[in-house]
């Protein structure tokens, strides 16, 4: 079982949602970023997604785009993120995933990327602009070093397309909750239930729900068949940090009683 799958299955065993915070690399500054990462880990994150900044992030809303813009100006690159992780690889209990767009990874080179991810303790990659049709060669290069390419599916992904992804995917499946970009939303659209049920039929992997989440209460309205195994939150956390909050207090929402699964 891939380490990413195991991390999420372990949380389910413990009767809670696996918690997957997303944090843009280097945000809001170098020291605060590495401290937030350690705090998220200490506070019980199962997987941590680190956002790799890109100048043209088409799948992201304004909060993540602005964070990317800020850290690009501070000189954050794929290499700097991987070097930083390499230096700290023993300290994280959570599994680490990089989420970023195709071009910075392609310029780094996928062979080198797979190698360096393995050395830095990065278990997976999420590449929002790498759909099934284009992914095969990169997925194989990463897989050879034990790095999973995490599939992204959404409300308009047909059963047929989900089955294509299911055949080749490992780790977990990122289910996008809305027909839109990343960003905090008040409620989870009821239509997500059908998407989650479809994904359950197609995948044997854990399902992580993301885009728009900030509090576990948002998941409580979903019926058992629409429940995810993990929750991903990014924009809400970035806003919390930008407002002077710390990572631990944000995580407390998810790791307390409210974060217990309805099964």
């Amino acid at each position: 079982m891939h380490i990413l799958e195991k991390k999420i299955r372990d949380a389910a065993q413990a009767g809670r949602y696996a918690v997957i915070p997303f944090l843009t690399a280097g945000y809001p500054d170098e020291d605060a970023f590495w401290k937030s990462l350690a705090d998220l880990d200490q506070a019980g994150a199962d997987v941590i997604e680190i956002g790799v900044p890109f100048s043209d992030p088409v799948a992201d809303g304004p909060v993540v785009e602005e964070a990317s813009r800020q850290v690009l100006a501070e000189g954050w690159t794929v290499a700097r993120i991987l070097e930083g992780l390499k230096m700290r690889r023993e300290i994280f209990g959570a599994a680490i995933v990089l989420m970023g767009y195709m071009n910075p990874f392609e310029q780094y080179g996928f062979e080198q990327l797979a190698q360096d991810c393995a050395e830095a303790g990065v278990s997976g990659l999420i590449v929002p602009d790498l759909p099934f049709e284009e992914a095969a060669p990169y997925r194989e290069t990463l897989r050879a070093k034990g790095v999973a390419l995490v599939a992204l599916v959404g409300p308009n992904t047909s059963e047929e397309r989900m089955r294509l992804y299911a055949k080749v995917s490992e780790g977990y499946v990122y289910v996008v909750s809305v027909m839109g970009v990343t960003g905090e939303r008040e409620s989870v659209a009821p239509a997500i239930v059908a998407t989650m049920e479809r994904a359950r039929r197609c995948f044997n992997l854990p399902l992580a729900l993301g885009f728009g989440l900030s509090r576990p209460e948002q998941l409580k309205i979903l019926p058992a068949t629409g429940q995810p195994d993990a929750a991903v939150f990014g924009s809400a956390l970035l806003k919390h940090l930008a407002g002077g909050g710390d990572a631990a207090s944000f995580m407390a929402r998810w790791t307390g009683e409210a974060g217990r699964r309805l099964d």
Binding site: P62, E65, P104, F132, N156, R161
Partner: protein
């Protein structure tokens, strides 16, 4: 998806949420576009609404000066003033046949936005145009034209606040509105199938030009020259001559101000392979893969990438691509105006400038066809800033 690549360039690098609408466009391109009904209806619109065929004009005065015969394919005479309308009418009609009720579009200078807004009004579709906030300020009259046609114009405040950010925002809007909405992409770039769809819809330029030059001179030209930003007018006219191996295909990119290290729009000459806006192509980017800002005096060329088919044509050697600086384009703008009484767009002026500045590279007594992709009326404000004093019109400090 089929045929999504041109050699190693092209592809479909988009979020999964955009795959279903792109597959739908690909199906419409395969099933609806070639049908006789569609072709008849589009042909009627192009002829009687937009003004096709456009003339192929001989330039007697410049031909004498240059030593070869110079012909212009007059897309400047097409409705709304540029070749953009060929693509917009085609995509708007296709959207209608697909059952869509609305169009979204990106625009840089505003020409594609204006053409989309007009086509949407004509065909009864709702229209929303995304335009970088900086371009909204620079091109207030085009914003006004779009709004008069009934389009909604969104100023995009993110990133560099220009064309590339307008494309990002249009792609985001398409994710949310794909059920009712077609994304009328403006150039032969972006994710598959847009590079092929736009090239197909613009190929009317090359087909006409080929027939017209044969009719008027009895032979094929020695060279066909067009400016390249995203590259839709160039690919449109090149398509007509692609199989005529004796015809040289010359594309001209914008080199910017020409100062050392200046921002430019010459991705074919100065870029490296990478992935942006859904396709692998040549890009102006940092070694780490961040997209660089672009610049050209011609807003329609101001883009840090280029259509993937051009990247491939460059690699195969079928086409060759040169560069022209802002100042030479402005000089060509004046020269065509004064020699032949035709006011070219600053984009098209780049193609003219290359021809004017390199007569020795073209055969004496030969024949050269230049794509006059648009008219220059839209550029008078920019021209005033650069050349106003020469014509006793107060210039304006650069902002």
């Amino acid at each position: 998806m089929e045929n999504s690549y041109f050699g190693k360039y092209g592809g479909c690098f988009v979020p999964e949420l955009l795959m279903p609408p792109l597959i739908e466009v690909e199906a419409a391109m395969r099933d609806i576009l070639p049908s006789q009904d569609f072709q008849n209806e589009l042909g009627e619109l192009l002829a009687n609404y937009a003004g096709r065929p456009t003339p192929l004009t001989f330039c007697p005065n410049l031909s004498k000066e240059l030593g070869f015969s110079l012909w212009l394919k007059r897309e400047d005479l097409l409705h709304t003033g540029a070749h953009k309308m060929n693509n917009c009418l085609g995509q708007a009609l296709l959207a209608k046949k697909m059952g869509k009720t609305a169009l979204i579009a990106e625009t840089g200078a505003g020409q594609h936005g204006v053409a989309t807004a007009a086509a949407a009004a004509r065909l009864g579709l709702k229209c929303t145009v995304f335009m970088g906030a900086e371009d909204v300020e620079r091109q207030a009259m085009n914003v006004m034209r779009m709004r008069v046609f009934g389009a909604e114009v969104h100023a995009v405040e993110t990133g560099t606040r220009t064309l590339k950010d307008a494309i990002n925002e249009a792609l985001r809007a398409w994710i949310a509105n794909q059920e009712t909405t077609h994304y009328c992409f403006g150039t032969a770039a972006g994710p598959h199938p847009f590079p092929r769809l736009v090239a197909e819809l613009q190929s009317v330029v090359g087909k006409e030009a080929r027939a017209q030059i044969l009719e008027q001179t009895g032979k094929l030209p020695d060279a066909v020259v067009a400016c390249v930003g995203g590259g839709s007018n160039a690919i449109g006219i090149f398509r007509g001559f692609m199989d005529d191996s004796e015809v040289r295909l010359l594309g001209v990119e914008a080199a910017g101000t020409g100062e050392s290290g200046c921002f430019n729009s010459a991705a074919l000459n100065l870029g490296t392979p990478g992935v942006l806006h859904g396709n692998r192509t040549l890009l102006l980017q940092t070694p780490e893969g961040q997209i660089e800002p672009s610049h050209s005096v011609a807003a329609g060329l101001d883009y840090p990438g280029v259509g993937p088919e051009h990247a491939w044509l460059k690699d195969t050697g079928r086409a060759w691509y040169g560069m022209v600086r802002d100042g030479r384009a402005l000089a060509a703008f004046e020269r065509l105006s004064q020699s032949e009484g035709i006011l070219p767009a600053l984009e098209s002026s780049h193609a003219l400038a290359w021809v004017f500045d390199h007569p020795q590279e073209l055969p004496q007594d030969g024949c050269v066809v230049v794509s006059l992709s648009g008219r220059g009326d839209k550029d008078m404000d920019i021209v005033r800033r650069h050349l106003g004093e020469k014509y006793s019109i107060p210039g304006q400090a650069e902002d």
